[in-house]
Each structure stands twice: as C-alpha cells, then as structure tokens.
C-alpha cells in the first residue's frame, strides 16, 4: 500500500463504496504479497501446517462439543468415548430450562454491546488525541492510560462496589456497564496504529484544510480499519466473558450475564453434570465466532478499499 495510493483514495471521496465481488477479490489478491509466488512445496507445507494446527487447537474444542451431546453417564468413562453414543440433546434442553438461559443471553448482548461501543468510541478518540494532537503532558497522560492495565480487577471491585451501590446502581445495567467503560487497552492499540500512518498523508490532508474531526473520519480511520476490527473483536470477547464485576453487581436474571448464569448449572456441593455446562459453553461461544467470521472479512475489505487504486 504505497503512499500515493492512499492519498488517491482520500482525495476521491466520491469513491463508490460497493464494488463487484470480482474486483474485490482481485484487490484482495493484490495486498497479499506472499501469495503469488509460492511453489508447490511451500503450499503443501502450508496445508500440513494447517492440519497440525487444527488437530492441536480443535481437539479440546471437539471434546467440549461432543461432551455437550453425551448422556450424563457417558462423560466419565474409560476408555474415553470419542463420539457420543447415543447422542442426546438433553443437555441443551436442560440448559435452556433449568436456568433462564435466554434472559442471560439478552443481558449479555445488552451489556457487551453497550460496553464495547463505549470502549471503541472512547478508545479511538483518546488514541487520536494522544497521537495526532499536540498538547503538553501528552506522554504522561499516555502512561497514565496504559498503567491502568496493570491494576488487577481483584483489587478494584470492592471499592467500586461501594461507590456504585451508593449511587443506587446495584443490579442495573448502568451499574455494570459504566465502571467497565474506561479503555486502556484500546487506546494503546489505536494510538500505536495512528502513529504508524504515513505522515505526509496527514500533513497533506491538513494542508487541504481538513479539520481535526474530518481528518479522523476521512483520513485516519479509513487507513486503520484492520486494527480497529481487531480492537473491536477483542473488546467484544473480553466484555462477553467478563465475570467478576457482573457477578458482584447483579442480583438475578434481570441483569446477570451469561458467564454468571452458567455457573448456576454447577452443583457447588455435590456432583455436577457437565453436559449442560459444556452445552452452555458452546452456545455462549457461537455468536462471537459468527461475529469473527463476519469481521475478518471486513478486515480484508477495509484494506481492499485502500489498495484498489494502485
């Protein structure tokens, strides 16, 4: 992606956003430099590598999946049962009937989307200020932001609980969301990204009279799409799996999230039936995986937009 390419894209604001599939694919091909000259040996090695990866990473996943379809008595057997026989959907039935599963899903969706949106917006704005605006004490502010990553939440929750409870926000969505909304990780990531952008382009846009917000939306963001997607994805995952704070703040299924709700499938003094727990793990993971599939395409598409004019 050469400098002139990107400038071309920026200047041409009337660029039609939709292109044909083929153009897009060709464009995608262009930005993948290492793909056009691989010999058959390399390709074969690549496939071997992929198979290995799938074996190592996917076997535990596979195990979670088949356990979710096993009868209670078939989970702990020797030798291990590599295929559920008989396969049963009882665990999924139990999962959705024994706990208010869909209430937890709803709460998780609300809390995750609100927190993720807040973090993404705040992260981008903070990163922009910390990378492309000049003001005194900039590096100190930056250090303050990333040092927040070093504070484990075990030590913040008690104090925050007191504060939020005094505001009367216990067992409310805002009580869960607002304390989680400050963003250190994303500020760090996006600042890193913004600083890596070619200076001439920024300068050129400024000379063209682009105001700071226009610069952000029209110049900086379009060039930072893959990183923003990665940031969003990781933020969504983290919020989706957040446990400690939602468990302390929520009282029941009006606000409790999925990771909190799923723990009520376990028997805390006796024998747990792991089938429904595994079923819950699978169902909790699916929406995020779908989002990943969707977003990783966006990651490539975003680049394509910049590269196609070369």
């Amino acid at each position: 992606m050469s400098t002139s390419t990107v400038i071309g894209t920026l200047d041409d604001e009337s660029l039609p956003p939709e292109r044909t599939r083929r153009q897009r694919r060709r464009a995608a091909h262009n930005v993948e430099p290492s793909s056009h000259h691989r010999g058959p040996v390399w390709t074969a090695l690549g496939y071997v590598g992929m198979v290995l990866v799938v074996l190592l990473v996917a076997v535990p996943l596979f195990w979670i999946l088949i356990t979710s379809f096993k009868d209670r008595g078939d989970i702990y057997v020797r030798p291990a049962q590599w295929w559920p026989s008989p396969a049963t959907s009882d665990n999924y039935h139990e999962l959705t009937t024994r706990i208010p599963f869909f209430d937890y899903v709803r709460n998780s969706v609300i809390i995750t989307s609100a927190t993720a949106v807040a973090k993404i917006v705040l992260g981008v704005l903070s990163a922009y200020a910390l990378s492309l605006l000049r003001f005194p004490g900039r590096s100190v502010v930056f250090l303050v932001v990333i040092a927040a990553l070093m504070v484990p939440n075990q030590i913040t929750v008690i104090s925050n609980y007191a504060l939020v409870a005094q505001l009367g926000w216990r067992n409310t969505f805002q009580g869960i969301i607002i304390p989680l909304a400050g963003v250190a990780f994303g500020t760090f990531l996006m600042r890193n990204q913004f600083l890596s952008l070619p200076g001439e382009i920024i300068e050129a846009a400024r000379l063209d009279g682009a105001g700071p917000m226009k610069l952000l939306w029209r110049v900086v963001m379009p060039m930072s799409w893959p990183t923003l997607v990665a940031f969003s994805l990781i933020t969504v995952v983290n919020e989706w799996n957040e446990y400690l704070w939602p468990y302390l703040m929520s009282d029941d299924e009006t606000t409790a999230t999925l990771p909190v709700g799923l723990t009520f499938l376990q028997n805390n003094d006796g024998v747990t039936n792991w089938g429904p727990v595994m079923a819950g793990t699978i169902l909790a993971m699916l929406p995020i995986l779908v989002l990943f599939l969707f977003l990783q395409r966006q990651m490539i598409k975003g680049l394509t937009a910049g590269a196609v004019k070369s």
């Binding site: 992606m1 050469s2 930005v31 993948e32 430099p33 000259h37 390709t43 690549g46 590598g49 992929m50 990866v53 535990p60 996943l61 195990w63 030798p79 291990a80 705040l122 992260g123 704005l125 200020a129 990378s131 605006l133 000049r134 005194p136 930056f142 932001v145 040092a147 927040a148 070093m150 484990p152 075990q154 030590i155 913040t156 104090s159 504060l163 607002i178 250190a184 760090f188 990531l189 990204q193 600083l195 890596s196 952008l197 070619p198 200076g199 700071p212 893959p226 990665a230 994805l233 989706w240 446990y243 799923l262 723990t263 595994m278 793990t281 909790a284 993971m285 995986l289 599939l293 990783q296």
Partner: protein
Amino acid sequence: MQSSVTDSRRDTPVSAGPPEQVGPAPRRSSGKAWEWTLAALLLLPNLVLLVVFTYRPLLDNIRLSFTDWNISSPVANPVGLANYVEWFGRDDTRVVVRNTLVFTVATVGISMALGLGLALLLDQKLKGRNLVRSVVFAPFVISGAAVGIAFQFVFDPQFGLVRDLLARVGASSPDFYQQPGWALFMVTVTYIWKNLGYTFVIYLAALQGRRADLDEAAEIDGASAWTRFRRVLMPQLRPTTFFLSITVLLSSVQVFDIINVMTRGGPQGNGTATLVYQVYQETFVNQRAGYGATVATIMFVILLAVTVVQVRFMDRGQKS
C-alpha cells in the same frame, strides 16, 4: 503498522531503498490552544472513567497496604511497612514469584511465537484458511472459567484425552493435578491454548496492513525468504511485537480464572499460585486484605517497572 509508541518519527529499517519517513511530521510548536482544548475534550470521558474506577481503587489499595485491614472489618490499623517486610521475608513469596515468572515467560514467549507463525501461515492463500482462522480464534472466545472446566477433560489423570492418547502408545499419564511441576505445566498449556487467538489476530491485522512493495523489492533484489523475514517483515512488525509483548505480559501476570478453576493455586498449597492468585487468596480466603493490598501494590510496581524497561528497550532498538 509501523512506528513506535514512544516516538512519532522513525526510519523504516529496510534494506532495499533509502530510509523513508513515516509517521506524522513533527510540528514546531507543542500545539495551539484549540488543539489543547480538543485533546482535553476527547480524553476527558475516558480519563474520568479510569480515574474513578481504576485509580481511585488503586490509591485506596496502596493506602490499605500499610494497614492490617481484615476484609470484613470496618477499621484498618496502620502498621507501617510491616506487610512489605513480611512479604520479602516469607518462604511462599519465593514460590509465588517463581511460578509467576515461569508462567509469564512461557506464555508470553510461546503464545507470541505461535501467534506470529499462525498469522503468517494463515495469511497465505490456502484453501480453507477462513475455517482454520476461526478454529485458532475460537478458544479465545471462551471464558477462562469455561476453558478451565473443559481442560479437565484433557488433563484428568483417569479420563483425560492426554491419558487416552498416552495409553494408546503404552505410556502412563503424569498426575497433572497432584505434582506441582506438572500442574504448572498444565495451566501454562491451557492458558496458551486459550490466548493464542489473541496474538494471532493482532499479528494477522498487522500483516494485512503491511507494505507489499517492500517485500517485493527485497525479493527482486534476490533476498532469501529468511532474510526477507528478518530484514523486511520483522522490522515492519516491530510496533506490533512491542505492543503484544506488553499486553500479553500484563494479561498473563493477571491470570486468575483458569488457575482458580483448575487447581485453586495448588497442589501443595501454592504449586500454581501466581501473584494475582496470592492477592485473591490473602484478601478473600485468609481475610488479610491489608497484606493482599501489599502484594497487589508490589505487583503493580513490578509491572510498571517492566513496562518502562520495555518502552526504553524499544526506544533503543529504534535508534540503532
């Protein structure tokens, strides 16, 4: 992604072609009034949230680290440096610090190397790579507690997959839960498995944003694949590597759910206890919240120091 967090100017260390200036051009002044105002407006909401919900508790914590606060008590008596003196003198401190070091070094090193390898592999035009990308990312999507539960089916000395596979070749399985060394190995492997998706996705995003022309130029110059990797690709990925080395380190040190679910810090009391686990254990189990606050403060100071060193190191790498 090319540039650093510490300096907005840098040269692109490329063997072919003259150094090219990237990053925003330096301005003469340190900004104008409108720039200050705008920066303040953009930063304020985030800073307020961080100050109220992270730094206020942190300050509380530092203050409490000089007291004998019992978690359930309404009062905390000042004890000066007693907690700190105790921490440095205690036998279990050594074990916990060693566990934290082993765990962190292993997880940071291995998950970054594997993440980069996988990102490179799955950046190739191979059939089915979208599926494989999802597979690699999938473990990251599962919560730490759920991963800990699921991996009991991998490492269980009676029913686990490892046992099953070893039995097929006639070997017997170590007792991962009872022997401290194996237990630490177990939680480390589990953590790497879960977090590979993170390093992978960040590296993948960086690879997608890299400059094809540099690689092509080098190739035309006849550079070998290894040379291109080392001289062209790695320097371009440097800011990403730097970013990951900090964030993976910080999240590894703060691992809690996996350890809590799999071993509760055991076997033998602290076989897999790390600093954060010790904070939890002292604060909520032993009820010595003052001492727990001390451990947390020490950990914060260590992390801050390590991060500053990382930033410096990065800086120096930049200049050479």
